[in-house]
């Protein structure tokens, strides 16, 4: 029998709430392949692959067993996807579909935002509790926070093996880190701790260390492409790789408020305030040799940050490449040539630095 689960469109829905109410999170992910059902309703060039796939699955009955489809307010495309899904139900376009829930977590800096977010996390808790019939106490929630924090600590041990001395390729480690969102935290901690022990015994990897930034990627295709040039992707700005676990959630009298604060501050997506994202990106530059900026065709947001980032990288003499390709497809030959040139330049700088 399939484990009770909810489908989530972006990793900014508290896994602690999901687990405490008896569910498992299943995340929408992008992939290559046709989405004919979704294409009839979703305008081209606007919705990323993961949302097109989510809608395709919704329209073809593949989400019928989910208890809820939770769409967080992490991007305008997600919000519009929520409105579309609700319309499919209203119009009987999608018949076997779980109730669709908007998780309206805001991320701006207004003084009224934190209280609003606490109320939204509480509303999510209430809704999922009603779906499962399991109403967690504050102690139950704190127990889930503790379990998730243990998983976070394990993930951080793995992250430490990527940088400053990389012992694992980005394409290999990204799925391990991303599994934080979907796995039982105890099993995740065990799996990742085992992996960290094995990886720690490996020799360091040669090649320039690359930070992948821009629009977050949820798969490792782009990592493989970058690493095929002899570089190592050691970090990503996004919720899937090194940013998946993040810092611990504080454990205090009000676990709901703690979760609201954590996910507002740490969720990385299109509505993460630009200042926070800039600080996050720049804090990673000390320990990388090159930067790849991914701005896929559906990008409407991260491209705005590019000129400022480019100026910083130029000032610090860090080679970089800006890729406009779909991260699920292989880069073009021109992209490969640009990656090759970036890796060469970074290698020369590496050699110069190390004599």
């Amino acid at each position: 029998m399939q484990e009770p689960h909810i489908v989530v469109s972006w990793p900014s829905v508290p896994v602690e709430i999901v687990r405490a109410t008896g569910f498992r999170t299943v995340l929408a992910r992008g992939a290559l392949g046709p989405t004919p059902g979704a294409d009839a309703h979703l305008e081209p060039g606007i919705f990323p692959s993961r949302l097109r796939r989510l809608v395709e699955d919704a329209l073809t009955g593949r989400l019928a067993l989910a208890a809820r489809i939770v769409v967080p307010r992490t991007s305008e495309a997600d919000y519009k996807c929520f409105l579309y899904l609700r319309e499919f139900v209203r119009k009987d376009v999608a018949t076997a579909l779980a109730p669709i829930v908007l998780f309206d977590l805001l991320q701006s800096h207004g003084p009224d935002v934190p209280a609003y977010d606490v109320a939204r996390v509480r509303a999510l808790l209430d809704d999922l509790s009603s779906a499962s019939g399991r109403i967690p106490s504050a102690d139950d929630l704190r127990r889930e926070l503790t379990r998730a924090n243990t998983a976070r600590a394990a993930a951080r041990r793995l992250v430490a093996l990527r940088c400053p001395v990389p012992r694992v390729a980005g394409a290999e480690v990204l799925p391990l880190l991303a599994a934080f969102w979907e796995m039982d935290p105890d099993r995740y901690a065990e799996m990742v701790s085992d992996a960290a022990t094995r990886i720690a015994a490996r020799p360091p990897l040669a090649g320039p260390r690359v930070l992948l930034t821009g629009a977050p990627v949820d798969g490792h295709t782009l990592h493989e492409s970058i690493e095929s040039h002899g570089a190592v992707v050691v970090d990503e700005v996004g919720p899937w790789g090194s940013g998946a676990a993040g810092e611990d959630v504080r454990i205090d009298d009000d676990p709901v408020a703690a979760l609201a604060d954590k996910y507002r501050a740490d969720s990385i997506g299109a509505r993460t305030p630009v200042g926070a994202l800039r600080r996050l990106t720049q804090s990673r530059l000390d320990e990388v040799d090159a930067v790849v900026v991914s701005l896929p065709p559906d990008d409407a947001v991260f491209g705005w940050d590019y000129p400022a980032l480019r100026d910083v990288l130029n000032a610090r003499r860090i080679p970089h490449v800006c890729l406009r390709c779909d991260p699920y497809e292989r880069p073009t030959s021109a992209d490969h040539a640009a990656l090759d040139a970036m890796v060469s330049a970074a290698s020369q700088l590496q050699e110069a630095r190390h004599g």
Binding site: K80, R86, E87, R90, L102, S108, D112, V274, A300, D305
Partner: protein, 420 residues
């Protein structure tokens, strides 16, 4: 035939130009503050503390109409801002960031004291942060909580039952944010905000929109459209930015009276009208001649755009005991009404029927990504209602990729094959 413009249209254009000249004088000579706002911000709050406000979208439309947009947008491209980023909401920023690239109309935007935007599309936070940094000015953001409850036929609820349109938690959040905005405006202006004046202002806004409602009914019912869509837009836009002011109400009435005279006298924008068209989406500001290009050849007239129609349905709020809540209820779901299911399609089909529309042209914006959502739902709803649809690929301010001849040819073919 209505070859000449309405007197109201000439007056509206002159008012806007003079208003902007006064603004520049006020800012440069008198060192008074002004604000730069997204179009969906409640302008009334600024006016009530005597801080004039310029609409970003209005300014972008002026820059595009003066054919300066390509120069500023080329400068954006050269700076590494890729071509899929929204150009409509960022053209004003480009005119500030790259001042030497083109000639900003009427001397350009002076430095505002404050910028203010609702965080609807994800790019707005980015664009306004960059713009505020370029000016060295303060930015106030109004976050945009998403709507979870979606009552149908919003245009019937909005006037009297507006509390039912917006969930209580969203309404409370927007009210709280607007209260913070008022605190900032009081600090900037040095003037106390008068809540009785807000209620009076909203009552005047209601009156103004009631006048536009009457104009809309005149246009819908007249045997032939009495006033071109472009003139409707000019008159509505000039008043909307200063809505509820003495001038705005007087101008709306003058516009109404002139349209009514035309209806009474049987004057048509295009005598012998054969097809009534609607334009769905933001205006094609760099090529407004497009909207009259099918009158001579096909007697096809653009009758409807959202600009006149949305005022009465989107702005009127009766029951103003709590004027800030009424204002917040209008602000909270502004964009969803215009673009997204279930609201936009149902409203547009309703409007199409009221206006006896024969064909609809639906903008497919090239770069306004979330702003371009909902289009397929609207197109399908119109077709299901028996109204043929022609999608038009265009950017509303960026003329660089616009095939004016090709677009006109496709409309002519659409009229020949689907409308007639």
């Amino acid at each position: 035939m209505a070859d000449s413009q309405l007197e109201a249209t000439v007056a509206a254009s002159a008012f806007q130009k003079q208003w902007f000249a006064d603004l520049r004088r006020r800012v440069f000579d008198d060192r008074q503050p002004y604000a730069l706002l997204q179009a969906d911000v409640p302008f009334e709050l600024f006016d009530l503390v005597d801080i004039p406000a310029v609409s970003n979208q209005w300014w972008a439309a002026i820059v595009a109409a003066k054919r300066q947009a390509p120069k500023f947008l080329d400068a954006m491209d050269a700076d590494g801002l890729h071509g899929d980023l929204c150009r409509y909401c960022s053209l004003g920023y480009a005119s500030t960031r790259y001042p030497d690239a083109g000639d900003s109309p009427w001397g350009g935007l002076p430095t505002p004291r404050l910028l203010c935007a609702r965080l609807t599309c994800d790019c707005i936070h980015r664009v306004f942060s960059l713009w505020a940094a370029t000016f060295g000015a303060e930015l106030f953001e109004i976050d945009h909580p998403g709507a979870g409850d979606l009552p149908p036929r919003w245009w019937e609820l909005g006037r009297h039952n507006w509390r039912e349109l917006v969930e209580p938690h969203r309404l409370a959040f927007v009210v709280a944010t607007l209260e913070r905005l008022v605190e900032r405006l009081e600090a900037i202006s040095g003037r106390a905000f008068d809540r009785r004046a807000l209620r009076q202002r909203l009552e005047l806004v209601n009156q103004q929109e009631e006048v536009f409602d009457a104009v809309r009914r005149l246009i819908a019912a007249a045997p032939e459209c009495p006033v071109r869509m472009t003139e409707q837009i000019t008159n509505v836009m000039a008043t909307q930015w200063v809505r509820g002011s003495e001038w705005a109400l007087a101008h709306a009435r003058a516009f109404h009276d002139e349209v009514k005279r035309r209806v009474d006298d049987g004057v048509a924008a295009c005598p012998g009208e054969r097809a009534r068209l609607m334009w769905i989406g933001a205006g094609l500001w760099h090529d407004t001649a497009f909207y009259t290009a099918f009158e001579a050849s096909h007697r096809a007239v653009f009758v409807w755009s959202m600009y006149l129609a949305f005022g009465p349905d989107g702005y009127i709020r009766y029951g103003l005991e709590d004027p800030m809540a009424a204002l917040a209820s209008r602000t909270a779901s502004f964009n969803e009404y215009l673009h997204n299911p279930p609201w936009a399609a149902a409203w547009i089909v309703h409007q199409a029927r009221e206006h006896r529309i024969d064909g609809a042209l639906v903008l497919r914006p090239r770069s306004m990504k979330p702003g371009a959502t909902g289009r397929l739902f609207i197109e399908r709803a119109l077709e299901d209602a028996g109204i043929p649809v022609l999608p038009i690929d265009a950017d509303v301010v960026d003329a660089r990729g616009w095939d004016a001849d090709g677009a006109r040819a496709s409309v002519r073919a659409f009229l020949d094959t689907r409308v007639f």
